[in-house]
Amino acid sequence: METILVSLGGGLLQAFEPLNLFMIFAGCLAGLFVGCMPGLGSVNGVAILLPVTFLVPPTAAIIFLAALYYGAMYGGAISSITLGIPGASTAVATVFDGRPMAQSGKADKALMAAAIASFIGGTVSIVLFTLFAPPLAAFALKFGPQEEFALMLLAFATFIGLGGDDIPKTIFSILLGLVMAAIGFDIISGQPRMIFFDMVEFQRGIGFLVLAIGIYGIGEMLWTLESTKGKVQMHSVNITWARFKENLREIKDYINSTWIGSVLGFFVGTLPAAGATPASLMSYGLSKTFSKDPESFGKGNVAGVAAPEAANNAASTGSMLPMITLGIPGSPTTAILLGGMIIWGLRPGPLLFTESPDFVWGLIGSMYVANVATVLLNLALIPVFIRVLAMPFTLLTPIIFMLCVLGVFATTDRMFDTWIMLILGVGGYLLRKLNYPVAPAVLAIVLGPLAERSLRQSLISSQGDVTTFVTRPISLTCVILAVLLISYPLIQRMMRRRAEAQT
């Protein structure tokens, strides 16, 4: 415990270095902006802005992106409440009660509850993160390639078992990402693989950022253009100092749902397939169940705004836990962060705590500071962000497209990749319209090279004996859990059928 506190102190000091502090504020602002724009969320912001962060050292870069991640969670609530359109999928549940509150002239109260709940959710989850991360990383040091592979299998199994999407489509998405990661030279034998049409450009493979920017930049903007048609209807917000103080006193109305959301959000966030969106929906459901007045949910109950907002913030921190300690991202956003860390020359996983303690603790320290910075910026800038929301899509879209094209070019210095980005973006959009989940593909292209290497290393060391994955206790546990998760939808269906047959 003492070592944790000492390291945390060092991390906090690092977060207050001028460059890092600047990055925290810049990240929070960028996050609030992308979060409040309908259609853009943390994942889009992180994907589009990652190439720009090569300007600064890795620690400052990840601090910026992590701050953006939080900011986006706060920002999502602004458009959910004032526009009735979730600023990001993570803020869907905030619309349920946020919208009715805005309609009855209580938008300011909803916005404040969202900010305060987000702050509490963020803080609780960072404390949990600080407590859990070092022991988990120390435990994960025992992992060999067998455990690594089993863990990745488990990560993908969560998409099948808990993702809630069509199962064959989810499997297709995962496998497509894994196969795309294999394009280019084989890491072990050095043989070129899948060089389509004999184009030499494929020898260097398809970078994860090309897919991520294609899907979350181009594809998402096309999706948003289609769903909003560029037109939105906004509610006015009345903010005065007197109302601010009055709203502050009403915290007791929603403090219980905030606690529920904070703790639930953190743990749900650590699961790769779950993340902030299901966490916020689950926490909304739970607070409704435990509420003394469940009838008022959906009609403008402030607890219905606080619960999902606390949960989505907590989940964003939660999803960093497996990324930092195990090298398995807990959400699409952390998948892109993980890919970024590889570009920066860091090796995500348990060794990070021993090899780059400054990086890890700087990040953790910055989380505390970023959380305070975001709540202050959020409360102070609500009027500004409401202005920003009135910005027409025909101005935002060309900027995003420009950043996507140049961002991809800047990472790889090849026009070829920008073509691939466009193809993947349009393809992703068309697939998404048919309910193919795209997040698993992004996670898979990041984890693909690691998964293939650990599988082949395990098989080489066991002389081709596949039982190596079930003879080691940790790997066996992961495999069993993965099998259970994969068969969970089947079991669920059988139970439902039996229940129907009985009635």
Partner: protein, 174 residues
């Protein structure tokens, strides 16, 4: 095209892609099984995973015929006619931007792209249009060329020379 038709076509398209990937690995002569003394072959991972993709596509097609997915029962249009224009034009505008970047360079093509998007699609004022047309290349120049030291595509030599002539001012005076 309805969502229903689109799902079936997509199912066949993904199946074809998967089979194509398998054929690609196989025809390159990559070993897909165990190589004695060396371990799993280089083609093992992509080949068997592509087979999984093919099976998942077949499952989607079967489920389509059984009417199990909501999409297979939906007769809504795949892309609504009123938004088809906006989406297609947006995607095409990026395509044209990429083509132009190879010919007239990043900056001129960005100016044309911004003009098209802001003035033609967005119907914004001339003031706003000019702010985007002039602001975008300046922002890109400062961020990518100056700060990130990236040499963005300059197009054909004549356009590249034109750019270098302007870029020279930076080195002479700053």
């Amino acid at each position: 095209m309805t969502v229903r038709t689109a799902e079936l076509l997509m199912g066949f398209a993904t199946l074809l892609v998967s089979l194509g990937l398998m054929w690609n690995v196989y025809s390159d002569g990559l070993r897909i099984g165990w190589v004695e003394g060396r371990g799993p072959g280089a083609g093992m991972w992509p080949f068997w995973l592509s087979l999984g993709m093919a099976l998942a596509s077949v499952a989607t097609i079967i489920r389509w015929f059984q009417g199990k997915t909501p999409e297979s029962r939906s007769t809504e249009p795949y892309i609504a006619p009123e938004t088809l224009f906006l989406v297609t034009v947006s995607a095409l505008s990026i395509l044209v931007l990429l083509v132009l970047m190879n010919i007239i360079g990043t900056y001129l093509s960005l100016m044309i792209f911004m003009f098209f998007y802001v003035r033609f699609l967005g119907q914004h004022t001339w003031g706003m249009t000019m702010a985007f047309v002039l602001g975008a290349p300046i922002f890109v120049y400062l961020l990518f060329e100056v700060a990130l030291t990236k040499y963005l595509p300059k197009g054909w030599p004549i356009f590249e020379e034109g750019f270098l002539w302007i870029d020279n001012f930076r080195w002479e005076y700053f």
